[in-house]
């Protein structure tokens, strides 16, 4: 018999313990470097624009380029930090646990919990359909399921992190509060309308075997890896939207005259909120792409309510998602879903134009 070596450096457990000790200081150093770069970004971007590139201060192109060179690294750095942090938080939640928690919850409380869990449960719109079926067949009420499906794409870490970074904590808090409000109320209304018979028949008839999936025990290191994987996955997916969004935002920032947006998207024009929603619904972008545009629009005098309505309708309702959901929902339920959510967004838009 071979003697068991306790100091084997190839032993997995040795590394796991060592990893924990090594990871925390590494994280601290990483955050410090991050902060230093972040702190000097405004100076760096101004220097790059006017000293390296032959652009003049005060010119339209100069303003656009400076905006782009400042916002791109800023947004990417914020995304990096927020996605990593929330990735670690998300490793504590799974759709399975969320479903088990929500099934059998009473209507209103269920809507509130579903919307809140929508923020932290890992969700990808490509798995909206299996998730919908999984929830409904496990006895989660239809309205509660919708609260989750509305909140999950709209109020997420990417949107909140970027809003906080670019527009301040007040706008982020308003967005989170109103987003949750819409998810809770719209889900509750859909539940009250008793539309259960407008789910496609095969969903309720399907013979679904409830599998139990063994829950993995994650170590702290596993969670760090989970967060890091989330960074690679999400930034790999959204970076192109971010750059496009910032390019559009930079164009608006540099070339659209001050105050023009105030006449189109300002408080004075009552039709601007519904128009924003009508334009926003068929558009598809994620939070990372739309928020730099929103930042530029606000800078040019657009009203906060109108801009919020535009942003929410772009993120929360999109044609591709509706096409996917059509597989499980009959047309009337889809129409109700769009109608209820759009009404909620209109309400939020008007409310903020009135009080701010």
């Amino acid at each position: 018999m071979e003697p068991k070596s306790t100091t084997n450096i190839f032993n997995k457990e040795t590394w796991a313990n060592f990893g924990l000790l090594a990871t925390l200081p590494l994280c601290a150093i990483g955050v410090y470097i991050w902060w230093v770069i972040y702190h000097y970004l405004p100076d760096l971007s101004a220097w790059a624009t006017y000293s390296i590139l032959p652009l003049e201060k005060g010119s339209h192109l100069g303003a656009s380029v400076e905006f782009f060179l400042y916002d791109t690294p800023k947004v990417m750095m914020l995304l990096f930090l927020v996605v990593f942090g929330v990735g670690i938080l998300r490793s504590f939640f799974t759709p399975e646990k969320t479903r088990a928690f929500l099934s059998g919850k009473s209507e209103f409380a269920g809507n509130v919990f579903a919307a809140l869990l929508g923020i932290v449960t890992p969700f990808c719109s490509c798995s909206a359909v299996p998730l919908f079926i999984g929830f409904v067949t496990a006895g989660v009420p239809l309205g509660v399921t919708f609260s989750f499906l509305i909140a999950a794409p709209m109020v997420n870490e990417i949107a909140l992190g970027l809003l906080y970074g670019l527009l301040g904590w007040k706008v982020a808090a308003i967005y989170m509060g109103t987003g949750l409000f819409i998810a809770i109320v719209a889900g509750w209304v859909i539940g009250r309308l008793k539309l259960e018979n407008h789910i496609e028949d095969w969903v309720t008839q399907a013979n679904i075997s409830a599998v139990s999936i063994e829950e993995e025990k994650l170590t702290f290191n596993d969670r760090i890896i989970y967060g890091w994987d989330a960074v690679k996955e999400i930034i790999g997916r959204v970076w192109i939207y971010v750059i496009l969004g910032i390019a559009v935002g930079a164009g608006i920032h540099g070339f659209v005259p001050q105050g023009v947006m105030a006449s189109i998207m300002g408080k004075g024009s009552w039709w601007s909120v519904p128009l924003s929603v009508v334009i926003g619904v068929p558009m598809y972008s994620n939070a990372a792409g739309i928020i730099p545009v929103v930042e530029a629009l606000l800078g040019k005098g657009a009203a906060l309510g109108t801009v919020l309505a535009f942003m929410m309708s772009v993120i929360a309702l999109s044609l591709p998602e509706l096409v996917i959901l059509r597989k499980v929902l009959k047309p009337r339920l889809i129409a109700t879903f769009v109608g209820v959510v759009a009404s909620g967004i209109l309400l939020v838009g008007y409310l903020f134009n009135m009080i701010i």
């Binding site: 490509c126 359909v129 999984g134 075997s209 599998v211 999936i213």
Partner: protein, 77 residues
């Protein structure tokens, strides 16, 4: 061994199927890979994260791309 990769054809699902095929080639394991893209069929397995991996009607992983080492372990059994 019958392996099924459940997913509506998103990037992560294709990556999962590709990884499994690669491992089969590498190890010469006796297994077939089938992609299941039909929503009804996916739902009938009772999973709701995609991609999910089913081996001989046993749910091995759901809602994420599995690690290569995990795939090797499944194929070794």
């Amino acid at each position: 061994m019958e392996i099924k990769v459940l997913g509506p054809g998103c990037a992560k699902c294709n990556k999962t199927a590709k990884m499994i095929e690669d491992v089969i080639k590498e190890t010469g394991a006796d297994a077939t890979v089938e992609k299941v893209t039909d929503m009804m069929q996916i739902a009938s397995y009772g999973v709701f994260g995609t991609p999910s991996v089913i081996i001989d009607n046993d749910v091995k992983c759901t809602g994420k791309v599995p690690k290569k080492d995990d795939i090797k372990a499944w194929l070794n059994k």
